[in-house]
Symmetry: C2
Subunit: 310 residues, 2 copies
């Protein structure tokens, strides 16, 4: 989280660009070229995604600190999709961005170690040789199984200077079904999870005041966000749901500490498909998605800067 807060500070921007590339978001010219090269295949889709991602990264890498890749949108094209994921992570790193793998992984301890090797740490081969696999900077995690499945990831966070973001209160409407149930001591389930996450990170607080064990809290719950900020003073928030899902800069205001740190705000569709936004009034063609993305990212930065007092 120190590495992340450092970048937020330098760029005066807590924006994360979500790269959740549906094929329909990608200009037809790119898709057409790859279909001509590779046929109507997963390979063609993956190549289109990679080109789309690279252009988006080029458009904003000097103004935003991080990108977040939603693994589902790569896994849906099989191993070809995962190659595009891998190459996007690497390209993001080359351009100086931090990369969050949004996989919401979870399992019992021994299996969680394997996920941690895949996304945060390194995989053991023969003769004690270890190699990084996807080598993201952070991974999103589901904490339903408790500390057993989190501990191996925290160990890798400390060893490799990585981070995790544990789901606390998710942005979707049905998050209330389980997460808002009230337990006997009066806390809601997401508050129980919040307290666990806070506890799991308490011994590893860095120089910006945040531990590598972060939390996911949706922009669609502004009140909860504010209360959780107070409840979890050492936990950095990854806040999805800004933009297309309905969250505004005001909605996420409560996520930040008094210095404007402690939260990063993810926008996916509103950046990837900025050219379609009413705000830009048809100014950008489909081919100019990257230029539109930069304009929208600058707009988002200015909105968030007002909130963060940067």
């Amino acid at each position: 989280m120190d590495r992340l807060m450092e970048k937020v500070k330098v760029l005066k921007n807590p924006t994360v660009m979500g790269l959740d590339p549906k094929l329909e978001y990608i200009p037809f010219s790119i898709r057409k070229k790859n279909i001509e090269l590779y046929g109507n295949t997963f390979k063609a889709a993956a190549e289109s995604i990679l080109e789309f991602n690279r252009k988006l990264i080029d458009a904003v890498s000097d103004i935003i600190p991080a990108i977040k890749l939603q693994l589902a949108y790569y896994e849906m094209y099989g191993t070809e999709g995962l190659k595009a994921f891998e190459k996007t992570v690497r390209y993001g790193h080359e351009k100086g961005l931090l990369v969050i793998a949004d996989g919401k992984r979870n399992d019992i301890g021994s299996t969680s170690e394997a996920y941690s090797s895949a996304y945060l740490g390194e995989t053991l081969l023969e003769d004690n040789v270890t190699k990084p696999v996807y080598d993201a900077d952070a991974l999103t995690v589901n904490g339903y199984l408790g500390i057993d499945g989190i501990k191996p990831m925290i160990d890798d966070c400390m060893k490799y200077r990585k981070g995790i973001f544990v789901l606390v209160k998710t942005s979707n409407p049905s998050s209330v079904q389980l997460q808002d149930m009230v337990v006997q001591d009066g806390r809601r389930v997401y508050e129980v999870m919040a307290d666990l996450v806070s506890e799991w990170g308490k011994d590893t607080v860095g120089k910006y005041g945040y531990s590598p064990v972060g939390a996911v809290v949706g922009a669609t719950w502004p009140q909860e966000l504010k209360k959780l900020r107070a409840r979890m003073p050492h936990t950095c928030f990854l806040v999805p749901g800004y933009g297309a899902q309905g969250g505004s800069a005001e909605d996420v205001a409560g996520a930040f500490d008094n210095n404007g740190f402690g939260a990063i705000i993810n926008a996916s569709r509103s950046l990837m498909c900025a050219h379609k936004l009413q705000r830009w009034n048809g100014k950008f063609s489909e081919e100019e998605f990257d230029i539109a993305c930069r304009e929208e990212a600058l707009h988002m930065r200015s909105e968030l800067q007002k909130i963060c007092n940067f």
Copy 2:
């Protein structure tokens, strides 16, 4: 679940073999051969895993109904590992086995659709062409986000005759941290989840009395297993934790209905590494892991048959 129960009935066996292949489980001769061919690489590891898996499948495909592949153990070798996953799924199908992808995936609705395309349904390419990706028969799922993320998977279950197993009470010790919290109406969190899972499946019950929306309940909680069987009469259980994690046939007895249906019991390490078990008293060499696996699977079948009254 009809397809699954049908196979359980024919084979008189509710065993699932978990293929969570750590490199150290694989005979050195296989690993050595692949290192000579491919170097000390992810490719060599993936090829060793695939060979190991195929031999294990060959050893038991006529006596067990299904295999479960823990995705983490494939993802940790990157795209090479996922190729081994893909090929193992296909090989399992060729040998007549049902295949469960153990990925514990979860996300908001639109993203959950993408996971469902990857593991259960088909992915949309250009010109309305759709293609299956990994094409497993079932996927394990984490329900922390509520119905939004489950619905797209249920839709694919109905369309493609697939199933999901939602985490209810997991086998690991720290599952108590969140799952055993008591909510205001007296239910534990895992019982709240159990009731949600039951509700999500209630309109899709098949001819064996079970819906495609199953539940994961660990063998390490025999009392809870029994109570959940009564609580969720239309929910089929996937029960991990048998064997190496400590669960016995007696421990899982409560998972079955009166006809011996309604549950499948997963054993991973005790089958993959059966040759190391005390029970077999050094009878099998490392190279005979597959023969040992069959012996152990026959033993497990006979233990479970007593319980199920098959």
